[in-house]
């Protein structure tokens, strides 16, 4: 659990730094900017306070990811914007259906990476006409793009560890095995064993 919460904290820090860099460009007169600010602020708070209770991420993260999907909605079909929105849509899906998280958790970081690289190369091409490799030395946004990628990566790593509510108690099989051993050794009566077995199975 600590690992999951630490990943959430690192992701929240990445978003915090990114958002702090962007705050000067936000105008509260534009509706999309308000959604943008809400999305970032909510994701920072939700991830930071993941330590309080698992339900904060469970209910809070989908809300902020919906806001992300709205404000990232592509106005033109560039490679960067499409992969960007796709990463957030998959993350939204992951937060709603944690069942598949372990199988698809690597997709959003890859998409985010491609999106950020494409965006760097796009700007670098426009500025220098000399290919995206030069972007590493030229693009002022590299640090910011890297932060978004790292943020997405750590959100997904955190989502990978999300546990789903179960009717069967955690570790029930081990307990039952040990109880059976006690029964065999005569340290526990059959009634007591049945009582414990029912407390595991019949919930």
């Amino acid at each position: 659990m600590f690992r999951k919460k630490l990943f959430s904290f690192i992701a929240s820090m990445c978003y915090l730094i990114y958002f702090a860099g962007m705050i000067n460009f936000i105008s509260l007169n534009r509706i999309m900017d308000i959604v943008y600010a809400f999305a970032y602020l909510s994701i920072i708070l939700v991830l930071f306070f993941d330590m309080l209770d698992d339900r904060i991420v469970k209910y809070g993260l989908p809300v902020s990811l919906v806001a992300f999907c709205i404000c990232r909605f592509p106005t033109s079909l560039t490679f960067s914007s499409v992969t960007g929105i796709l990463a957030y849509v998959i993350m939204l899906f992951m937060s709603l259906y944690p069942k598949f998280n372990q199988k698809i958790f690597f997709l959003p970081p890859i998409l985010a990476f491609l999106s950020q690289m494409a965006s760097i190369s796009y700007y670098a091409n426009r500025i220098t006409h000399s290919g995206w490799l030069n972007a590493f030395s030229l693009s002022p946004d590299l640090f910011a793009n890297l932060l978004v990628f790292v943020g997405v990566l750590f959100i997904c790593l955190s989502l990978k560890d999300v546990k789903m509510e179960s009717k069967i108690p955690v570790g029930g099989a081990d307990s039952l095995k040990k109880a059976a051993e006690l029964l065999r050794n005569g340290k526990m009566s059959q009634d007591e064993f049945n009582e414990i077995k029912n407390s595991i199975i019949s919930k």
Partner: protein
């Protein structure tokens, strides 16, 4: 009336409610006894007569060869202080004499033990109702151990009195090498019955080492105090986290200071500033996380059905089985469920149990259909 079941529940809750309690406490704990006891509260008066000796440095200025020079000399000083200390103390000789394992003594557990004894003496309130015997406790009279009373409660007071006297007599001078020897005589009275303390005393072992806990009723309800095995590696890990936060903060600070002097708008300066903020926030987050885990998560997850077997060992003592069943239904950890990997592993374990005949095929099918929802 303190219900024995409630007392045992409080004891188990207390075991899992600490920052540094060992993680496998419920796997290795063995409760050797859990008894209700009347502990008589004795009033004591100790008359002491302490003779002390010390060195006092006296410095003076003398003129040698036309120059002022400070000379300090040491003068022995001695005297006597007498007085008396009055107080109440429970008979605590049972801590050593009662139970198969000796209670572990080290600097950490001793302070906890003193807190627990103070809790019984001062906070624990209880009115005797007369039907305690039905609830499985014994009336055991324990004598007041004079040495332990003197060591724990009086020695520091005598020491303070001696120091006060020396400072009074030699004000403004520095004092070294204090030695004192104390002659005492004492009166101990057993107090009237309404000053008895009624507590449950749990003796338990972890890895073969003995520990003790007191469960008593206070104004706030049931409370438990005592000694517990501590996980010092977790303490060390926590320290590592704070040191990391401090280092991040420090690197950021150095980066910021160096670059801000050269150029305040430099990118490195802002990176430095952010490192400082991240370091501070990490320390804050870690502190809050620990604080919250201590108060909420530990209670929720550690007393889970995972610990069923180990608790059952504890439950072997009469009356505790009810406590166990009550706890497992109250606090069973159903919210922190499975990831899909966990669920696959768990199904395999149940399959093995089914093969060895512990559960029937029907029961296995029921469980696996429930668990396969997560896969």
């Amino acid at each position: 009336m303190i219900n024995v079941v409630e007392a045992k529940k409080e004891f188990i809750r207390w075991l899992g409610r600490d920052w540094y309690t060992v993680k496998d406490i419920f796997d290795k704990i063995k409760v050797t006894s859990f008894k209700g006891m009347y502990l008589p509260l004795y009033s004591y008066t100790i008359h002491y007569n302490a003779s002390y000796s010390c060195d006092i440095s006296i410095s003076s200025t003398v003129r040698i060869d036309g120059k002022d020079q400070r000379i300090s000399s040491r003068v022995p000083h001695s005297g006597t202080v007498s007085g008396r200390v009055k107080g109440y103390a429970i008979g605590s000789d049972f801590i050593e004499s009662y139970g198969p394992e000796r209670v572990v003594h080290n600097s950490d557990t001793d302070s906890e033990l003193w807190k627990a004894i103070e809790f019984v003496e001062n906070k624990c309130v209880y009115t005797v109702t007369g039907n305690e015997l039905e609830n499985g406790f014994e009336v055991i009279y324990h004598n007041l151990n004079f040495d332990s009373v003197y060591d724990g409660r009086v020695r520091s007071k005598v020491h303070d009195a001696v120091e006060r006297r020396i400072i009074e007599v030699n004000s403004g001078r520095s004092v070294t090498n204090i030695h004192f020897s104390v002659r005492t005589n004492y009166d101990i009275f057993e107090t009237s019955q309404d000053l008895y303390r009624f507590v449950y005393v749990a003796r338990y072992t972890y890895n073969g080492r003995g520990y003790i806990a007191f469960i008593g009723i206070t104004d706030k309800g049931l409370e438990c105090y005592g000694t517990r095995p501590m996980d010092f590696s977790r303490k060390k890990n926590n320290r590592k986290c704070y040191i990391t936060a401090l280092m991040v903060f420090f690197v950021g600070f150095v980066l910021y200071m160096f670059t801000a002097i050269i150029n305040a708008n430099s990118k490195f300066a802002s990176v430095g500033l952010w490192l400082m903020i991240c370091g501070a926030l990490f320390a804050l987050w870690k502190f809050l996380y620990d604080y919250i885990s201590k108060n909420i998560t530990a209670r929720k997850s550690r007393i889970a059905l995972t610990d069923l077997y180990s608790m059952y060992k504890y439950v072997d003592n009469s009356g505790a089985k009810d406590a166990f069943l009550a706890i497992s239904s109250d606090n069973a950890d159903f919210t922190n469920g499975f990831t899909s990997e966990d669920a696959t592993e768990e199904i395999n374990k149940y399959r093995a149990l089914c093969a060895s005949g512990v559960i029937t095929t029907e029961e296995f099918n029921k469980i696996s259909s429930e668990l396969s929802k997560f896969i």
